[in-house]
């Protein structure tokens, strides 16, 4: 009953996101969609994903999108759609949709016959991985390569984002919330967020939680700090920031090659110390990923000053 209702709501909300006439409505619908996704992950027995989705879908993504909307003020019309191409595009979309639907239906009707029973494999080897939580074990022991490269991908995204940052600093023009109530609340909310992030990091070894969820919460804390107009300590030390950005990947690589020295494989943890190594890597990843996600938010230029419209300057009124 709950499942049917939720599963039915999901495409409806998606439809709402796509059909909303006004962009702001689409974005708020999308935030609601993220929250629904968190509930769906709960019902799919994936609390780790629910945690990540709650922090990212309901927290970070919403802020990023609202922030971007505030920036694209005096919206320029995207122009008249290509009327001549529209029927063609619609047909293309319909054909694509139909084909995908057929493929999915086929996949459902013909159940997978996997040659390896993955859950059984995970259960078999989890003893040796050094952690008790299967998802963490997969992330940092069985498929550590994937995780390593994922962090590298995010680092590349941040490098691109930072490279595109505006050279002129109009941070002064940034509109910030100045409310005594907000400041007062943040003085205990932010430490609490940090605490929760560390808690998530710690319990990741035996329960749902871990580096990614902790990093998302920590990044949300940094973003909130920024939104309320506070300066980050060390913000003006680019070297410090960069060290933080690559710190996670560096620690991962460094600890991963420890076994190489003794003739082992890359990213194989020493048997006795596997748990400690994983915790170390996760801690470094948490702080580093939080900084990376925050840097992507920060890389977005501040909204233009009032009366200083974008360079082309021919905004419609």
């Amino acid at each position: 009953m709950i499942d049917l209702l939720l599963a039915l709501t999901l495409p409806l909300v998606a439809l709402g996101v796509l059909l909303a006439r006004e962009l702001f409505r689409a974005v708020v619908m999308f935030i609601a969609f993220g929250l629904l996704m968190a509930l769906v992950w709960v019902r799919l027995q994936a609390p780790d994903l629910a945690l990540a989705e709650a922090a990212i879908g309901a927290g970070l993504t919403g802020v990023l999108l609202l922030d971007a909307l505030g920036h694209l003020r005096q919206p320029h019309p995207p122009g008249q759609p290509l009327r001549s191409l529209l029927p063609l595009l619609t047909i293309l979309a319909l054909v694509l949709a139909g084909a995908l639907g057929l493929v999915l239906l086929g996949a459902l009707l013909e159940p997978l016959q996997p040659s390896v029973n993955l859950p059984a494999e995970v259960a078999l080897h989890i003893e040796a991985s050094g952690v008790a939580h299967p998802v963490t074990a997969v992330l940092l022991a069985f498929r550590a390569w994937d995780t390593l490269l994922e962090v590298a991908v995010i680092l590349v995204a941040v490098v691109v984002g930072l490279a595109l940052r505006f050279s002129h600093d109009d941070a002064a023009a940034e509109s910030r919330v100045s409310s005594p109530l907000l400041q007062g609340m943040l003085s205990w909310l932010l430490p609490l967020m940090l605490l929760v992030a560390l808690y998530l990091l710690w319990i990741g070894s035996y329960r749902s939680g871990g580096a990614f969820q902790a990093a998302a919460v920590m990044a949300a804390m940094l973003v909130l700090l920024r939104l309320s107009g506070q300066q980050l300590p060390g913000q003006n030390h680019p070297l410090l920031l960069r060290a933080g950005l690559v710190g996670g990947l560096g620690t991962f690589l460094l600890l991963g090659s420890v076994q190489l020295l003794q003739g082992g494989a890359f990213l194989a943890w020493p048997e006795q110390l596997a748990g400690a190594f994983i915790l170390l890597v996760e801690t470094a990843l948490t702080f580093s990923l939080a900084l990376l996600l925050y840097a992507l938010f920060e890389a977005s230029p501040a909204p233009a000053r009032k009366g200083h419209p974008p360079r082309t300057g021919d905004q419609p009124s």
Partner: protein, 103 residues
């Protein structure tokens, strides 16, 4: 034992009903400030009742503390959201400034 179960059921159901009523309030009230009123009621009471109803069922006391913390967080968040949104409403619709006295 029966009495406790009955009490829990009562708390949970009334909490859920409060959520429903509050959401209806958000749907039916005519202007933004009164909708804020509905919103804060729901957070404070609905969630509070549900947390109270769930408390006897938890196994360890730290879990109970966590749940109460969640409730406090939700209250603080809704109060702050109401405060910020009211300020925004006032700023952009000066004609309504007199309607909302309590912030």
């Amino acid at each position: 034992m029966m009495l406790i179960d009955l009490l829990r059921a009562l708390l949970l159901l009334s909490g859920a009903l409060f959520f429903l009523v509050g959401t209806l309030g958000i749907l039916r009230f005519p202007d933004t400030p009164s909708r804020i009123h509905a919103l804060t009621k729901v957070d404070n009471l609905g969630l509070g009742l549900i947390v109270l109803g769930l408390l006897p069922g938890v196994e360890h006391w730290p879990v109970a503390i966590k749940m109460i913390l969640i409730w406090l967080l939700a209250i603080a968040a809704s109060a702050l959201a109401g405060h910020l949104v009211v300020r925004v409403c006032r700023e952009f619709r000066p004609s309504n400034a007199g309607e909302q006295q309590d912030d």
